[in-house]
């Protein structure tokens, strides 16, 4: 199924080794399901890297937001390698630095602070997208 023209593909790393990986996943859900369902599309990183046609098609036609749980930046790296244009490269660690009080814990289930951090991250990205949209209409 193709996506509307002005779509942002969202690719979280979903790393399973650290709470930040779960934050990346949760933030992607916040963005794609709650804040901007009309113009975002969640794509699984592994599917993309392993050559799924639909995922590759989305990535080549639409800009991407990558959300990485650590500074290895796997999602950003692999989306670029797959031919995608990463419009916004988000590192959960950088967002955490701006919100020290929101220390995430838990990988299978995030604590409240982790959920809030995911929400804050998603809101920051949503605000950037809204601002870009506004700039385009000027």
């Amino acid at each position: 199924m193709s996506a509307p023209n002005k779509t942002m593909v969202v690719v979280p790393c979903s790393g399973i080794g650290k709470p930040f990986g779960t934050v990346s996943r949760e933030a992607a859900y916040e963005l794609c399901e709650d804040l901007r369902p009309q113009d975002t599309r969640l794509v699984a990183l592994a599917k993309l890297v392993l050559g799924d046609e639909e995922a590759r098609d989305l990535i080549t036609k639409h800009p991407a937001v990558t959300i990485d749980g650590c500074k290895q930046m796997c999602a950003a790296k692999m989306v670029k390698q797959s031919g995608g244009n990463v419009a916004h490269e988000i590192a959960v660690l950088d967002v955490f630095r701006r919100h020290k009080d929101l220390k995430p814990e838990g990988i299978a289930e995030l604590n409240e602070a982790g959920q809030k951090l995911a929400r804050v991250l998603a809101e920051e990205v949503a605000a950037k997208l809204a601002s870009e949209e506004g700039a385009q209409h000027v």
Binding site: K18, F20, K71, L93, F96, R97, K100, K103, P104
Partner: protein, 151 residues
């Protein structure tokens, strides 16, 4: 580039640079030849053990230090870690990268991830209390084994 001693546990490899000395707690000390200065940083096992560094705060240039006195603290997602000075002297340089990209401590703990340069006041005495790379490697291996046992 220094040479390394390495040990692997599960999927993690821990390295010890052979060109410097260490405290048992995992602070490395690298002499700057021809001077009384040493560069200090965090060893590989300690940075991996504590996780991604979110903040790194080193005391400012000019701070006088005694051996064992706190000279820095790092805050990771897992812990707040206070770091004790391995030498006595005064801080003459702090790594500027730590303000904006403290993750450099995780990425290259033995090179760009250095913490501070200290002008020492009793280097020969301090040096004799530090472990050489081989001795620290054994200490580190024991720490790794202990951590695995506690899983």
């Amino acid at each position: 580039m220094p040479e390394y001693l390495e040990t692997t546990a599960d999927k993690f490899t821990f390295r010890v640079a052979t060109d410097r000395r260490y405290t048992p707690q995992g602070i490395w000390v690298l002499e700057e030849p021809g001077t009384q200065r040493v560069r200090v940083g965090l060893a590989d096992y300690i940075q991996q053990h504590n996780g991604d560094v979110a903040f790194a705060n080193v005391k400012p240039v000019g701070t006088k230090l005694a051996v064992g006195e706190q000279f820095a603290e790092i805050e990771t997602i897992k812990a707040m870690v206070e770091l004790a000075s391995p030498v006595s002297g005064a801080i003459v340089e702090v790594n500027p990268a730590l303000d904006t990209t403290p993750e450099v401590i995780n990425q290259t703990p033995f090179q760009e991830g250095w913490l501070a340069v200290v002008e020492t006041t009793s280097w020969e005495a301090d040096r004799s209390k530090l472990l050489d790379a081989s001795a620290y490697f054994k200490v580190m291996q024991a720490q790794v084994q202990e951590e695995l046992k506690n899983l």
